[in-house]
Symmetry: C2
């Protein structure tokens, strides 16, 4: 099933959630689900679900519902979870250590190296790898050709490191720093995870709710 | 300046970013900026910026631009960064430790307690606090009345813990687990930070880009 090229980013961002819910249904031994039932589980409307899935060519049959196993597989395929983009972790502080334990193999990535510059961190062990010094980044990339970097460094270090990584052939970033990589580099793909922004948004929503109550 | 009650969530999610960029301009000693200049800095269109800020009653004057200091302050006020919602951190693994070092005081929150159940973690020191056992959560909440929880526990623990927290009066969650708190509790506010979803979205975008290149 081929995807249309103009799928909006908000639909794409919902796909991992569909994937997760379908995985649960699968584990529960449920083989078939209607868009109405799925909507109740996921807290979306049935029409939203039909619209979202139609973006990828339409699954399911009227009056029959969705086949859980095949929809789960199709979404895995759409997301490219069967691929293995080589990724490097940059910055092995607490956040970097948490990121290192993500389930890369089921996300379409392969974590092939981890880098830091702090004595005591360099040389330590992390998910079966030895943390390397950032000085050796270029040599490592020459050999392993990572296309993705998981950037877990402070904002002040992110500018120089992201430039070096791009020169090394990195084309995509999971960016936890508040440095705006995409703004300075047109050609790279950046997913930002900004914890401070999420916290501020939560505060805003709490204040708004209090005004309405 | 009063905010309209129907500001869309996507506008709200952009506010912390405006706040950050305006903070930078302030530090650089820039007093005034046009929506065009701001748009170049932020990688948004000038019309998007004008539309976004108009949601909150409109700032700036035609032909004059925005006053950086006062717009920065207004956005801080809109976001409620001058407030101090009491927050507890639940789960002091690597992710919890990273979350503990966020700049709460400038985000509208006050971190008043941290909880875990693992021996060796309970009793340890974290950003000036002693990590408490989750068994003491109810007693602690009775005294400190936190309204917010930063949930850094695995999915399997999130269901029971979020229910306990809600019974303790917690009304808002920064949720890192893949458990869907909002789905099971209508009345709470949840900001989800799902690292796996961000990783999968990144992979999808990489694959799409490769198809087009």
């Amino acid at each position: 099933m081929s995807s249309k090229s103009t799928v909006s980013i908000s639909v794409i961002r919902r796909l991992p959630r569909y994937y997760r819910f379908l995985g649960e249904l699968k584990r529960e031994g449920i083989n078939r689900i209607s868009s109405r039932e799925l909507s109740e589980r996921m807290g979306l409307t049935a029409s939203q679900i039909r619209q979202d899935l139609n973006c990828f060519g339409g699954f399911g049959q009227q009056g029959y519902g969705y086949n859980v196993v095949s929809l789960h597989e199709e979404i895995a395929h759409i997301l490219g979870l069967d691929l293995h983009h080589n990724a490097v972790l940059i910055g092995v502080g607490n956040l970097g250590k948490a990121v290192a334990t993500l389930d890369f193999e089921h996300s379409g990535f392969h974590l092939c190296g981890a880098f830091d510059h702090a004595p005591g961190v360099v040389g330590s062990s992390l998910v079966g790898m030895t943390v390397l010094h950032t000085d050796t980044l270029e040599a490592f990339c020459e050999t392993h050709r990572p296309t993705t970097a998981l950037l877990c460094v402070p904002r002040t270090a992110a500018d120089a490191l992201s430039k070096r990584l791009i020169l090394c052939g990195v084309k995509a970033f999971l960016n936890f720093s508040h440095y705006d990589i995409a703004l300075h580099n047109d050609d790279v793909i950046v997913e930002n995870v900004h914890l401070m922004d999420s916290l501020m948004t939560l505060g805003y929503r709490m204040n708004e709710k209090r005004k309405m109550d």
